[in-house]
């Protein structure tokens, strides 16, 4: 049974998406298609400076991509990286599926033994 070491890239990804404010920002970017620190701060109760800081974290994790539009950076969600994050969470669900199957097997074996 191999125990792979945690990938540091994934650590960044998870902490980036682990924050509720940043997930709200991702939601807004997904709905609008794109946004800037200014448009996002107008839609949320977060200062423009705060939003810019969060965007930096998302950018470093590869969850958003920036292009320069005039004075401000325009951000879009990186679909592939977001899909990767979502897939990792579904793996948590898959881990529970496997655990529940084991619970089922163990409980049913105990039940059979008691009936014999």
């Amino acid at each position: 049974m191999s125990v792979p070491v945690a990938d540091p890239v994934d650590d960044d990804l998870w902490s980036a998406i682990g924050d509720p404010t940043r997930r709200r920002m991702l939601d807004l970017l997904l709905v609008d298609g794109h946004g800037t620190a200014t448009t996002l701060s107008q839609q949320m109760s977060v200062t423009r400076q705060g939003v810019a800081k969060h965007l930096g974290v998302l950018d470093r994790a590869g969850l958003v991509r920036a292009t320069t539009a005039g004075r401000e950076k325009l951000y879009r969600v990186d679909d592939a990286q977001l899909a990767r994050a979502v897939a990792q969470l579904s793996s948590v669900g898959a881990a529970w599926d496997a655990r529940l199957q084991r619970i089922k097997r163990i409980a049913e074996a105990i039940q059979r033994n008691r009936q014999e």
Binding site: V5, A6, D11, S15, A94, A98
Partner: protein, 153 residues
């Protein structure tokens, strides 16, 4: 995108008493999840579960029993930092609900807290994902597939 909780349900051909024992006792827990488990089963009892070898780079994770109502409900928190009291925001809450169903038990599992604490735990889960692969993951699917085939005219 609701990603804060995971819910699963499974039918077990065993009495709620037996299923309760399997989901709550440390002796059984380590058969279906970690490599080692040490905790008291009274509400508020703290302990730990260990993935891998405790003395050889294994991961020790805190676990605290929240509520226990044999044979209908068992819940615990895990992943809180060692020494901290388990609470909303620093841990994941796992709840098992058991209901008699026919000759067996309908077992429902809910894990919540991902939104509150960040997803570091998912990284931990990812590390031990090897538990998922292999026959014990694919066999049940094969069984339900076979059952579907069997009911065809």
């Amino acid at each position: 995108m609701e990603t804060g909780s995971i819910e699963r349900e499974i039918y077990v051909e065993a009495s709620p008493e037996v299923v309760f024992e399997v989901v709550s006792s440390p002796e059984h827990l380590k058969q279906w999840w970690p490599d080692d488990a040490r905790y008291g089963t009274e509400p508020g009892s703290s302990g730990e579960i260990v993935f891998g070898d405790r003395d050889a780079g294994g991961t020790v994770v805190a676990l605290t029993v929240v509520e226990t109502r044999p044979p209908v409900m068992f819940s615990f928190r895990w992943t809180h930092p060692a020494g901290e009291t388990a609470a909303e925001g620093n841990s994941l809450l796992v709840t098992f609900d058991l209901a008699p169903s026919g000759a067996g038990t309908l077992l429902k599992m809910t894990e919540t807290g991902f939104r509150e604490m960040g997803w570091e735990v998912a990284v931990l889960e990812e590390q031990y994902r090897d538990h998922v692969s292999g026959w014990d993951f694919y066999l049940p699917r094969l069984v339900s597939y076979a059952a579907k085939l069997a009911v065809r005219p």
